[in-house]
């Protein structure tokens, strides 16, 4: 079993503090959901874990099985087992989806241990078929001209091919119609099990109808303010966030601090 531990994490962007002391502990074989209103730092948390160049960790720690994640370069974090399905995946012209995926897989396997082309193609075909992606998408340039839904599917395809220890899914459900949401959920559920842990960041209860989380966390004002089981999501669905705000004495949600990108 692997463990990802986030302790008292403070993160700033352009000098403005967004995360104000996040604590979270995740194990493989668990699915977590982080919910909360817009602008509370959910995506910032995801980006800080992966090492986005714009986000500055000002204090606190992130460790993966005791290893200091914050000292690692972005690619080292990936090789250590972290994966972030991004809210806005980059488009890379001239690099085919398939070539990119093979580079990613081989980077993790290391020199001299590259995956055979045949094996790679077989697995790629299989996974694309599972995610109901047309074969030609392998030969298209990475995310270039992909629709919002295609990009999200492509993130899940990468997840399934790379097989990380921990996946963070940053609003994987946003902009998806119900059919696409079902396909994406099918992919995530297929990964579920021993050796795989997952954090889903979402605004919407809807995603949780397809993927049942083991733990739910609510973020507000740059902190995790409540954690619980599936019952917490149901309460949110029924009553919204107002009751938590009341309990915490939050007057104004400060939507304007929004730094979700």
């Amino acid at each position: 079993m692997s463990t990802l531990v986030i302790k008292d994490l403070h993160v700033a962007i352009d000098g403005k503090e967004i995360l104000k002391g996040v604590n979270l502990s995740l194990n493989t074989n668990e699915i977590h959901a982080i919910m909360g209103p817009n602008g509370t730092g959910k995506s910032t948390l995801a980006s800080a874990i992966m090492g986005h160049p714009k986000y500055e960790v000002t204090s606190g720690s992130i460790t993966l099985d005791g290893e200091n994640v914050l000292e690692m370069e972005v690619d080292e974090r990936a090789k250590a087992g972290l994966f972030l399905a991004m809210q806005y995946p980059s488009e890379i012209s001239g690099v085919t989806n398939a070539d990119f995926l093979r580079s990613a897989i081989n980077a993790r396997r290391g020199e001299g241990n590259e995956v055979s082309l045949m094996k790679f193609i077989r697995e790629l075909d299989e996974k694309m078929d599972f995610l109901e992606m047309p074969e030609e998408m392998g030969q298209r340039y990475l995310n270039e001209g992909f629709s919002g839904g295609e990009k999200k599917r492509n993130e899940i395809l990468q997840l399934m091919m790379i097989k990380p220890k921990f996946a963070i899914l940053d609003e994987i459900d946003s902009g998806l119609d119900i059919d696409a949401l079902k396909v994406v959920s099918k992919g995530i559920n297929a990964m579920r099990g021993e050796g795989f842990g997952c954090v889903m960041i979402t605004h919407y209860q809807r995603l949780l109808n397809y993927i049942t989380p083991d733990h739910i966390h609510i973020m507000m004002q740059g902190k995790v303010v409540r954690s619980g089981g599936a019952e917490l999501a149901e309460k949110l669905e029924a009553e919204g966030y107002d009751w938590i705000k009341k309990e915490l004495g939050i007057e104004d949600e400060e939507e304007t601090t929004g730094q979700e990108a």
């Binding site: 690619d75 980059s90 890379i92």
Partner: protein, 435 residues
């Protein structure tokens, strides 16, 4: 303004060279006239690059004698890598200034297709060469360098495709440069008669580190009514040359040209790629990629000029500038009065890899007609850190991520090259240059 020109050759040298090659008298006279004009013509003035101090005229010797090859097996390894010895049916290899190898399939010969070195062509197909040599395309008196070129032509190739002949297999020319003293005054003349079609691919390949000579290269492509030419080139000339390369196409009615140019010289270079869309319905697609490195200075002008109605011109140039290299990218779409329904589009993008590298993209649209469409896009920037982050977040190292982004950036031209060996070579040259 006059620039003093110190020429290393005299009128007598030019005459003797011409006579030694048994050239027809029109060519000898043309050379002499051109040489006489060199002194008074203005120097080429590429937009935004000052070339006043560039040495365009001095060189150790006009021609060098190099070995010929009896078979493709004898080629140096670097050339073997780009010529498919078994598959390539039609190939011309020039070794410095010496026509070193020629293979033309019986099928092409029987259809009347001509592929031979330019000086042999002047002897054996004088009427055709005389008709097209610096008449319709590049003019001898355009500037000092075109005149100098006409006077000193010492190599190149002539490709002629008769009416209605479709050549399926690409024709390949390799200009191997392995003698530091050599100068390349190559003239390439491609003539596609009406309704014909051809693919021509050339490589300029230096295998010496430093050159001491001049590279003054002119290609003229004449595409007659409803004919089609695909022209691929990979230039890899050594540092030390002062390179002037001018590739020009003249298109008649419904004619089509596709350019795919990999401009990878290590020398200071002026590169012009100009297409004249003279005929109605003519079409030009020009794609170029550039990698600049070291302290070289380069100027690239890609121009499509429209006279024909409903003519289409597309320019795409992507450049990567490294170290302290400088690159000026002038894209010019010019629509003349009367060219109604013409469409002129261009895109220039420059990626700078080091803080001392300089790239300038200058999109220019000159339009003298109302009923047209035109557009341009240009950008100069650095590798996007968010793209690198995305690639690295999948475990790809920073160096490899940069490599992927750069190759992707240059892929639009690499993928267009019609010969696999040449495509592979360009990929490898890019790899070597951006590392």
């Amino acid at each position: 303004m006059t620039v003093e020109t110190k020429l290393s050759v005299t009128a007598q040298d030019v005459r003797s060279f011409s006579e030694a090659n048994n050239e027809p008298s029109w060519l000898t006279e043309l050379r002499e006239r051109a040489l006489a004009d060199v002194e008074t013509l203005p120097m080429v003035k590429p937009d935004k690059t000052n070339v006043e101090k560039w040495n365009f005229t001095e060189f150790p010797t006009h021609t060098v004698e190099s070995t010929t090859y009896a078979s493709l097996e004898e080629l140096p390894e670097e050339v073997k890598a780009i010529v498919d010895a078994e598959g390539q049916q039609n190939v011309y290899i020039q070794h410095n200034n010496t026509p070193a190898y020629l293979k033309v399939s019986e099928e092409l010969a029987s259809k009347g297709v001509i592929l031979t070195d330019i000086l042999t062509a002047a002897r054996e197909h004088g009427d055709l060469v005389q008709k097209y040599f610096m008449t319709e395309g590049v003019k001898i008196d355009q500037h000092k360098l075109t005149a100098l070129h006409a006077a000193l032509v010492n190599g190149g190739v002539f490709v002629y495709v008769p009416k209605d002949v479709i050549v399926e297999e690409p024709i390949q020319a390799v200009f191997l440069h392995d003698n530091a003293d050599a100068s390349l005054y190559n003239h390439v003349l491609v003539v596609a008669e009406a309704n014909s079609s051809i693919t021509y691919v050339e490589n300029y390949l230096s295998t010496v580190e430093e050159a001491k000579g001049q590279a003054n290269i002119i290609s003229e492509v004449i595409v007659n009514d409803n004919a089609s030419v695909t022209y691929g080139a990979v230039d890899v000339l050594a540092k030390g040359f002062t390179t002037y390369v001018n590739r020009r196409a003249i298109l008649h009615r419904d004619a089509k040209v596709d350019w795919a140019l990999g401009l990878m010289n290590d020398s200071d270079t002026i590169s012009e790629n100009v297409t004249y869309l003279k005929g109605d319905g003519s079409y030009a697609d020009t794609k170029s990629v550039v990698v600049g490195r070291g302290d070289q200075s380069q100027n690239f002008t890609t121009e499509v000029r429209h006279w024909g109605k409903a003519s289409n011109g597309y320019i795409l140039i992507h450049g990567v500038m490294k170290d302290s290299s400088r690159g000026i990218f002038n894209g010019i779409g010019k629509i003349e009065h009367g060219a109604t329904k013409a469409d002129a589009e261009q895109e220039s993008r420059v990626l700078m890899l080091n803080k001392d590298a300089r790239g300038d993209a200058n999109p220019i649209l000159l339009i003298d007609e109302d009923d047209v469409t035109a557009g341009h896009a240009a950008s100069v920037g650095r590798v996007d850190p968010v793209q690198l982050y995305y690639l690295m977040s999948r475990g790809i190292s920073k160096a490899e991520a940069e490599r992927l982004v750069i190759h992707g950036f240059l892929a639009p031209v690499v993928n267009k090259l019609p010969i696999d060996g040449v495509k592979k070579q360009l990929t490898e040259v890019i790899e070597r240059k951006v590392r």
